[in-house]
Structure formats: C-alpha cells, structure tokens
Amino acid sequence: MTTSTLNHVAYVLRGNLVTAAAAAGTALLIAVAILGPWITPYDPIASNVSIALQPPSFAHWAGTDQLGRDIASRIIAATRLDLLIAASAVSLSFVVGALIGSLCGYHGGRVDRWIGRVVDILMAFPLFVLAMAMVAALGNRVENIIYATALINLPFYIRFARAEVNVRRNLGWVEAARASGNSHFQVVTHFLLPNILPAMAVQISLNLGWAILNAAGLSFIGLGVQPPTPEWGIMVAEGARHITTGKWWLVAFPGLALMLAVLCFNLLGDGLRDILDPRMRT
C-alpha cells in the first residue's frame, strides 16, 4: 500500500518536472522551517546598529537591515512562522469549510439555506477589509492573523465543498454507504470528504500562497506580526520603502523567499491533485 503510494508519487513527479521542482522547493522550505534556529548564521533579532544597512557582503550575504540585523538569518528564521501562518490558516479554513460545506451539500434543506445565507454575507464582504477589521479588533497577534486569513477563505471552501458534495450526494456509493450501516455523518466524513479532496488540493495549494501574501498585505498597512519577529511579509513591506534609496537587498531577498514559497505551493497544487486522485493510479 505505502510502497504503491510512493511509487505513484514518484510516477507523478517523474512525469511532471515542474511539479517535481515545486515539491523539491517545498521540501527545502519545510527543512529550513524545521532547522531554522540551528542554521541561521546570526541571531535574527540581535541588533548591531554600527553595521546597519550594509549591502550584501561575504559576512552578510543578504546584507543587513536598519538595526544591523542579518537579513539572511531573518529570512531563514521567518520561514517557520510564515509556513505556520499559511498552513494553519489554510487547514483551519479547509477543515471547517469542508465540513460545513459538505454537511450542507449533503443535507440540503433549511440548514443549507441558512448557512448559504451566512456564506453569502461573508462573500459579499470586501474580504481584505474584513481581515483588516478582524486583526484590528482582536489585536495583531499571529493567532489573529491566522484566524482572519482563515475566515476570509472560509466561504470559498464552504461553497466549493458544498458544490462538490452536492453533485456526489446522489451517487450510488453514497447510498451504498448508507446501506452498509454508515450514519449520515460517517458518510460525509469517510466517503464524501476524501472524494472531494483532490479537487480541493488545488484550492489549498493556491491558498497557502495567498495566506502568506495576505499576511504580507496586512503587514504593509501595519497590521502584521509584531516586531521584532521576523516575517517575510513585514520584511518585504518595509524593504519596499527602501527601493528608491537604492537599498535593494532589503526587499529583494525576503521578496525572493516569498516568491519561492508561493510559486512552489501554486505549482505543487496541480501535482497534488494528481497524487491524491486514485484514478490517476494505474
């Protein structure tokens, strides 16, 4: 079973170099996130004002920032937090959204209509403003950024899951599952949800990227993670202001990290669908 799964993954990756590259990139990111504290050349939050704003050099290959902190170390240290934000925000909205959505799609009726209303309300919100308001209301801590990001993605997951389940709920195997003694809830969690997963994988991977960008956007208007915690979005947002003064390294390196992450997630999404879809296994 597991070897066949591995074989299948290997097959998908072999057949699609772009996906393989994205997978490698993602693996690298995860490794950096795990190893973060041990592989930073310098303490990411230790300042040394005497060497502030130095361009990339041998000692500081990504240069230093306004407080003389090593940018490379900060980028590495930020990986964990950024992946954490992205992963938790997305899994939160995915788990909650998929569950609500599929229950609605499965049951239909009044509950569905009511939840549909609530989702409509959420969808009708200018979502970025909603995220800002939430973070502003709850305080800009990491958890709240995650909640806000999760909330603004929620309606899409609900809709998506609802639609996907809706087309499947009358399929034979759903009825067969009932006949086999599964309760409605079990049908949803054991049968329907796993089946809509491949389709949602794409959405998930896209959202991983967007979650980081969303955090970056919040940082840009000052509602990001609290300083001096390193976070790509904040670093990019702050660095962007130095573009005209020629201190390009302030934005270039964190920007590259952000780009790498978003790019990997996005490209991985398509591959993920292939990996998750048993129909692609032969």
């Binding site: 009708a124 200018p126 403003v129 209301a137 208007i221 979005g233 990019v236 790019l263 398509d270």
Partner: protein
Amino acid sequence: MTTLASISRRTGTRFVSSLPALLGVVVFTFILMRVLPGDPAVFFASGPNAGKAEIEEVRRLMGLDQPLLYQLALYLRDIATGNLGRSLTTGQPVLADIQQRLPASLELTFTALVLALTLALPLGIAAALNPGKLVDHAVRFACTLGVCVPTFVSGLLLIYAFYYLLGWAPDPTGRLDIFAQAPPRITGFLLIDSLIARDGTTGLAAASQLILPAATMALFVLAPLARMTRASMLAVLGSDFIRTADAMGLSRARVVGVYALRNAMLPVLTIAGIVFSTMLGANVLVEKVFSWPGVASYALDALLASDYAPVQGFVLLMASIFVVVNLTIDVLYGIADPRIGIE
C-alpha cells in the same frame, strides 16, 4: 421571449434573496466596528488641547453615547433613507465621499480586469491547446509569478522602473496629471468624460496615469483567470461536441473560436465576476501605492481611525456591488447559455 421572461424572473428572485445577505452585512459590519477597541471620539478630539469635554462632545455628535441597539436602529433607518452617515476623517457625508471616489476605483478595476482578460484569455487558450507542452508550462509559470509578488511590491517596482529610472510613466500621483485640466465631470470616469468632451489630450493623460496601477492589479489576477480559461477550455475541447465539430470538418478557427471558446467562457465569466468584486475591495494596497483616490484606500484610512461610518458605508457598497455583479453575471449567463432558466 420566454427565456427573457425567465431570466428576468430569476434576476428578480436572486435580487430579493440577496437582500437578507445585504442586511446581514450591514449588521455584521456595524457590530464589528463597535468591537474595535479604538474610540473614534478620542482619536478625533485630537487638537493639541482636547480634553474630556471635547471627547464627550465628539461622542455625542457621533451618537456614541446611545445604547448600541438604538444606534443600530438609527443606522438602519438612515440607510433606508440613503444616509450613510458622515466621515470624521474627511468631514463629508459618506455617500458624497463614495460618489466622489467610486468612479476612480471602478475605472481602475475595470481597466485592470480588461487588461487581465486580454492577457489571460489568449494565454489560457494557448495553454489549453498545448496541454503538457512547453507553452503550457511557460504560461503556468508566468501567471504564477504574477501571484507571487504582493501588489504593493510589484506596484512600487513598476513605479521605480517606469517612473523613476526610465521616466516613461507620468508621476504616480492619482488619476490625472496635476497640471492637466480635468474634463467636466459627467460619469466620473475620466476616460469616458474626456471622450464625451472630445478632449484627446486629457484622455491620453488619464490613460497614462491608469496604466501602471491597472497593470499591477492585472498581474495579480492574471493567474486565476488564465488558469480558469485553461481548465475550462481543456474541458470543452475534450467534450463530445467539439469532436462532432471536428468530424464535420469545420475549420480549426471556427472550432476553437466559436465552438470551444464560447462554451468555455461561461465559467470564466463567473470567475471574472468574483475577481472583479474582490479586486474592488482588495485594491487597497494598489490605491495606496499609486495615491489613487479610490474607495478602498478611503475605507482603509477610516478603518485605522475607527471612523465607523465610512467603513460601514464602504462595506455596504462593496456588498451591493457584489450583488449587482452577481446579478449581471447571472443575466449574462442566462443570455449566453440557453440551458439556464429551465432548471
């Protein structure tokens, strides 16, 4: 005839059924704004010597001394009479502010959407016609690059390159060169207004101001549009009726352009609608970077200042636009797809 009737009936019901959502949005925003810990009265009574009395006065002026439910009732009554309150940041009625600023946002978003679509459609089609080939990967990669960069960064980079370094773009400060004469305001859309006024110079000036921010936004939404186009083109190209068209010997151009594209456009239409409304709300950052006098940056400033009325007004506006856009898409869909309406 009957299709028209059924479309309008559908539109009607859709509209009515979206009213509760609008009400929900209003109430939710109202509560959310009150939950914000910032007290606008304190913020706005900010003269160098404002004391308790001034703060209380502002509070009374804003009606903040009343019980919450009563405030909500008043607010709902005001909305019903078309009064969205007054912004403390600008000192103007919110409705007037929005009327002033909405065309700017709409013009920017429309341009960006058109720009994005004119890029995304050919790219998506090219990718769909060569799935798994180099073109496909290149399109996917290029589009994804657009999504990787936060809009405020790409905006600043574009400004740096095209204004600061190359000097090709006019200074990125709003909708019209400061020394240019704005055309008489009719629609509020500068491009249209200058067209009406037959003022080519102004139109050109407005267009050149528009191009960078629109490109910034377009870059960001290119990916979803192109991907959707690709996916739906692929699905349609694989469907039976395309094979039929091929079997009947129709020309390639006709098969791709008429048979495939028209069918593939339906889901793209839906996505374009969603993209349009999210862009309108999410272009805060672009508006900030380009000093664009739109509604989103207006709402952002108000939000940071805990200025309730503009934020509430903005959210209501966005929600209404969302509803209208959805309705429009619905109608377009109904016209484009004869199957709709018979459920």
